[in-house]
Subunit: 235 residues, 4 copies
């Protein structure tokens, strides 16, 4: 595959964006050392931009970001792609509405994942962002399509943009890579809050009708522009 | 409503102050992403200044702050007001002594709110600042006056400047916006300390007479000037 | 009392040191907002230097530091002294070997204090620094000598430089103010570690003979110079 | 022993590297005050470079780093070596494949150590980095070879680069000092995640065959170059 000058400009901009989005993973302490990764689909192309494998966050540059096709093959870049590239690629192949994928081992979300327990929808913020309980995906070994398949099968029929992969950690998706990063930040936050609440008792779940009312309002009213507006993702 | 030049100067200064007060929410990790908001009443006017909806903390500027009337209608500003504006407005309409309102989803305070459990007054610092247990308010959906009414009905007859809204999170009030921010910082701090203490046993509550003695001393003696002195809020 | 030029130079230097030591309280997140305070005895004088009441950490300057006599009366300074000044003064009057006092409401130490439970000596680091269990002091109201007396009565016959005042928080002492700050940092650290360990079981206590061996070694061998060397406090 | 000009250049570079590696200990909050230390073996020499005793992290300079022989005797440097030098030296004498050693009192790892409980392999990240449960070493007093012997006897036949020394804290080893620092960061991270998961239930352990598959893949495939490539350690 050849990268033409036009798509080259788009990819240069996406490398910059994907690189910058990684700063949220360290800002919110979702990752340590070189763990975790963000990717973005190149719009209208069978391509994705993803973090290189084993790279430290402090020294990441846009030029380090790797371009792969949607089977995880290297298309452009000087470094090996993330060891989770196959999982990201599988999601892009099977969920065309997804424009970004994020994976972390963030502490509280991973703690729920280790027990294989969904995060119950006991907070308005969970209803707003996840539209219900945050589901658990299967245990899957790295190295083939198992992780990607587990993500897709869990999230395909869910309102939730986050899945807790058993004994592993959270993966999040979004219409854009920024939305997927936001979901990664929020899944850790609610995983922490509900964990702490549960330590001293059980919080009552929200009524399903209230969950739907909150979800639909948040998805459509919150923020400065309608979700279909491209500007929304740039603020 | 027209904003005259004189009130315009006051509002410009309040936009600066409200914008700056938001930095405490991130400094003390009370908020993530775009969640949370601070507002201030414009003294002597039926107006309030509040954070815009869905805006990121790192890039907030005074000019982004939105001016609304006390029914939440936009009066001046380029962005949509916070989705919690109706709740803030209800508080200003019904509690004339309140000059500032803060809302966060801070972790430990929200954990108590999720269980619907008041924070017991087992620390001198709780007696100082809250004058007793920190109360729980009702569950209320966003979108009408329900949240505001729940805040006012809970706090009207309480010494506490903080209420834990069920399945949602804390709202705090103050004579000034800065006082409300201080209460937001302190409610999370004591929510955390009492939670941790409770994990390994039950702390004995303070004697009500001691609570009153501590509260009255702190409200009147602590700091550099009397509470009625405007300088106090500028230090 | 008149401050001569000579003692004035000493006090200017101590104001600088005491001001700077407060930065450790925020660095290690031992305090929020304006809570907490550090003081130092002026060597060879019946004077102490202490933080002003209700002052924010970010804007503390050496000139803000207040000079009091050892009964808490203001001797020099433009601001009111800390509301805990009487407790610091009582310690200096009754423990001539003490050169510095620190008070915080740090989360984990305060959680043990709320339950009135000593921190058991289950770590070599507790043996090193505290020489045994970290003791609990009585509940005492602010406003007279009660807090100071509780500190002195608890620590007078203890190896520990820290006391957990019931329903209140830790006070620490040291040969120098810097030593007292170190003890404040370490009491929170071990309070946190032992709390977390205890959540999932009970750690076996160290053998008293081992505690003594560790304490004596650490007090005499650790670091770069003997404890009696003034240089030690400047590194 | 004389340090020739050639080995002098190597040691100058190692002083710089060892000094810089200490910044990770503060970045990830693995240490407080002056606790904790990193050392590195000088390749091809019976020498090690280690942090001085009782030195603060903020002011560490390469020139402060101390050169010792593998019995802990001072060879070059102006300060006393770390009080844990004997333990590091013992490891270098008995494990020739080890190029770096790190010791911290990081909170969660030390909490497991206080109870004397291994961290179970319930996360893919533990399988990747530690190849199984993270083992506990014996209680040992400082001052002779007891700590070093406990580390070596525990790790010699383990895949794990980390040992939880009873009532004390973690020690980690690595092919390089950077690898040992990475292990120190990761042992705290997984100690925290598994602790939190365990608070609300028990996570199922991974299948031993899966652990081996994950460990071997991570050790050989992850990152940018093969583990035997010296460049790997510089990224």
């Amino acid at each position: 595959m050849t990268i033409t000058s036009e798509v080259g400009n788009v990819i240069a901009e996406m490398r910059r964006q994907v690189c910058e989005l990684h700063t949220h993973l360290t800002q919110y302490e979702l990752v340590i050392w070189t763990a975790g990764n963000v990717s973005a689909r190149v719009p209208g192309r069978e391509l994705m931009v993803i973090k290189p494998s084993g790279a430290e966050y402090d020294s990441l540059t846009p030029a380090d970001m790797v371009v792969c096709d949607l089977y995880g093959n290297l298309v452009d870049g000087n470094l090996n792609p993330s060891s989770d590239t196959a999982a990201h690629a599988y999601v892009y192949r099977h969920m065309p509405e997804v424009g970004g994928v994020v994976h972390t081992h963030s502490t509280y979300a991973t703690a729920w994942a280790a027990r294989g327990e969904p995060i119950p929808c006991v907070l308005t913020m969970i209803a707003d962002e996840f539209g219900g309980d945050i589901p658990v995906g299967p245990f899957a070994l790295i190295g083939d399509d198992s992780i990607g398949r587990g993500i897709v099968e869990t999230l395909r029929d869910s309102r939730s943009p986050a899945v807790l992969m058993r004994n592993h950690g959270p993966f999040t998706i979004g219409r854009t890579a920024r939305d997927a990063v936001k979901a990664a930040v929020m899944v850790e936050d609610v995983a922490r809050t509900v964990h702490i609440s549960r330590q001293l008792g059980t919080a009552p779940p929200l009524d399903p009708a209230d969950v739907t009312a909150l979800f639909e309002r948040y998805q459509n009213v919150y923020g400065q522009t309608a979700p279909s507006d491209i500007q929304e993702t740039q603020r």
